[in-house]
Symmetry: C2
Subunit: 466 residues, 2 copies
């Protein structure tokens, strides 16, 4: 009976704390291409290597979030960002606009209007679809120059992450008005392109920091030259904190890249990096328990990832992925460089590198779970010869999205490893699996009854509006 009262009181307290309360500080974390499989694979790995459970998976409130866009069962990041940021469905590729071109208002804009400061953080380019959904209004996600103009016009307070990248020459843009960084400075932004300059940012300053031309590095490839997502959130709290509160959107953008590449270890490390950023927010929430909401979601699933694989008898040994020390994308470029320097490089000479970077062992010891079987060695050797052919013919590089489409060696190495670990993938694209939204803190129960990605914005606006 006492237990029952305590239990009821707990539930009652959680809700009473929300009823009428409007948290001043709202964190929204988004893993691009991250749904339940990515989150659970990363957690299982983290537990196995002794780093414990993921905070994002242990939040009291959880809900599945449907993602379909106006014109497709399988959404892209632009339509999903628009839905989560603005609360309405749009077509794939559109940012901050309804399918008919009507301008939509984002939760970040609502927060700004109600006197809060706003931070936008991502590991990919800052003009990428997901962050853009919170400040831009454009028909095509590829209009990156125009999206950057919207960034400047937003007047938001803290932009940090990758650069502007983009495939087109900004000078050819019909709306060209000058270099976007120059325009940002003219509009009062402190534009920073170094880790040192960013670290020196003062509270209250309006800043735009970038640490790469395009996307930032995968966490698994990090060499310390770029801040981590956790660093970016920690600094964000420092510069944004004020009596009226703030809204911060933080995206782990490259989980999606790892999903397209079907690169499980790389996905895991980026999900864990996002979770470390979540933990920074939770530490802040501990200091302001009545005033802070932390929410974590994804925009869609990428890759059709599974926790178990037919090729390994349905076993799931995710800890074996600890052997992988770099992304398949990075490894591919290393191999290409080696083949350029020495076109006659023998496969046998590369074997030690496979062991060093992926933990796969060329041994006769059948009890070693990382042993490369003879059929696998054949696969690897054939793939290596294909890469040699491409290098010889000077075939252009592939992007992270395409790892394994042309240069197949690095991709084959990580596929062999994934099979040992029992990870399956069914697609190189997005899938229609719902994402997982979790929430903790003041107002976390707003996700009860949520069904759709548009509900995220609809309900956050209740909290963020005046």
């Amino acid at each position: 009976m006492i237990k029952k009262i305590l239990f009821s009181s707990f539930v009652l307290f959680t809700v009473l704390a929300y009823a009428g309360a409007k948290p001043k500080y709202v964190f929204l974390f988004i893993g691009d291409g991250m749904s339940t499989p990515q989150r659970m694979v990363a957690e299982e790995f983290s537990v196995k290597i002794g780093e414990g459970e993921l905070a994002m998976n242990r939040m009291p409130y959880q809900v599945n979030t449907r993602t379909k866009s106006s014109n497709s069962i399988i959404t892209d990041s632009a339509a999903s960002a628009t839905a989560m940021a603005c609360g309405e469905k749009t077509n794939n590729g559109m940012v901050g606009l309804a399918p008919d071109g009507r301008r939509l208002e984002s939760v970040a804009e609502v927060a700004k209007k109600s006197g809060k400061k706003v931070g936008i953080i991502t590991t990919v380019t800052i003009v990428h679809a997901t962050p853009a959904g919170f400040y831009a209004h454009r028909r095509k996600r590829g209009q990156t120059y125009q999206i950057a103009l919207d960034l400047i016009a937003s007047g938001f307070d803290y932009f940090a992450g990758g650069g502007v990248g983009g495939r087109h020459d900004e000078k050819k843009d019909p709306e060209y008005r000058g270099n976007v960084f120059d325009l940002a400075r003219a509009a009062g932004y402190n534009v920073v392109d170094s880790r040192e300059g960013w670290a020196a940012l003062k509270p209250g300053s309006r800043s735009w920091s970038y640490f790469a031309k395009g996307a930032m590095d995968f966490s698994i490839d990090a060499d310390g030259s770029q801040p981590s997502l956790a660093d970016l959130v920690e600094k964000g709290i420092e510069v944004l904190d004020n009596k009226d509160g703030f809204f911060m959107m933080c995206e782990g953008g490259k989980v999606d890249y790892a999903g397209h590449a079907n690169d499980a270890a790389t996905s895991i490390r980026d999900v864990i990096a996002l979770d470390k950023a979540v933990k920074v927010a939770l530490a802040f929430a501990e200091k302001h328990p009545q005033d802070t909401l932390v929410m974590v979601t994804g925009d869609h699933e990428t890759g059709g990832m599974s926790l178990g694989f037919a090729g390994t008898g349905g076993k799931f040994k995710v800890e074996l992925l600890a052997g992988q020390k770099c992304s398949a994308e990075h490894f591919s470029s290393v191999i290409k460089d080696m083949l350029k320097k020495n076109p006659k490089l023998e496969f046998e000479k590369v074997q030690p590198l496979i062991t060093e970077k992926f933990g796969l062992v060329f041994t006769d010891d059948r009890s070693n779970p990382m042993r490369v079987r003879s059929a696998e060695r054949k696969l690897l050797k054939n793939a290596f010869e294909k890469d040699r052919g491409y290098v010889k013919k000077q075939v252009a590089d592939t992007t992270a999205h395409d790892v394994g489409r042309r240069y197949v060696f690095a991709s084959t190495v990580k596929n062999v490893l994934a099979a040992h670990a029992g990870i399956g993938w069914s697609s190189g694209s997005h899938t229609a699996l719902p994402t997982l939204t979790t929430a903790q803190g003041a107002g976390a129960d707003i996700i009860v009854g949520m069904q759709d990605n548009t509900d995220i914005a609809i309900r956050l606006k209740k909290i963020l509006s005046k």
Copy 2:
């Protein structure tokens, strides 16, 4: 502001209705092998064929449920049933006992002890691991005779579903005391083996009804001779309803079989059948809104099902599965019979049957999404020749779990269809993906903060105990 008050009041009401409330009527629905992918694929299909969303997916409270057992990351149904029924982890294969053999108490036993009536329903054998978790206490799930003894000893009020099946001769069981149905009758059970006898059951009677020797038919193969899960729940309510309330566990057991066989259309139809049973419970809940809790979960995921497939460019057209009219298992037996009767049967003669039973069309019209491409036709023909070889050699039948392992033709047909529909599968076994638990009604918020399958029992016991 008014909206805000209304919203808060809604949340407050939901919880206040629970605080102190102990619903008299508790329904627990379990889809074996059913997690978010199975539920969402079925919903998308249901929407596309005009039958609307699944009630089980639209419940206000949702949570991911981890499933690992004491001795395996990937659970089996026995360990998971024990966790969900009794609230403690055990080893794969064990039923209602801790790993050290300690007897555990199930929620159904707690309900019975507190004066409620108890119903146990399943589409598979009534002594199968999942239902057994709620009434039996045995070291091995295969001890089906002894599990049946526990069934009789439970004194529960309404057992309905498949038969006792089992692979061993009951007379050779070390605890053999006589035929289980005879023993049940002697213990006061009304044992019924016909649809008519079952329909005639009166409220308050103690009954054990079975409609097949082993498992019941897949929904997609149903010919009306067996009641549906919805029928079984409806009758269950009729016979169990009393002033002290009841606890009813209803399992959709063959979703798992369809998962092992990677048979998407068959999975979908069984998930929809389970949802129709859920809707019967929800209709009852509408009449007793303050007294009824409806919860839906799964014991594990089977198959690594994905909503999108590389082989079809990541497309997801689940509606194409409407073309499939029978399970691959059933189709396989049809083909075998045909080949037995006519060992020289030509593949071309079977093509019309493929079209009739799976909707795949042999046509030159490239705009037809169901067109069998030439490479696919080759696959099908080769598979058909393999089956012919097996029939000739009189190789033994495979079980539903093994569809595609020996006799490959039916499996190849459904694989070709699945590829058209954009469904991927990564495993023929269970996976470690968490399941999805949803709840609606009085006390539904007990699932807030749940993380693990043991939490289901731990929290249901709060409601079901005196």
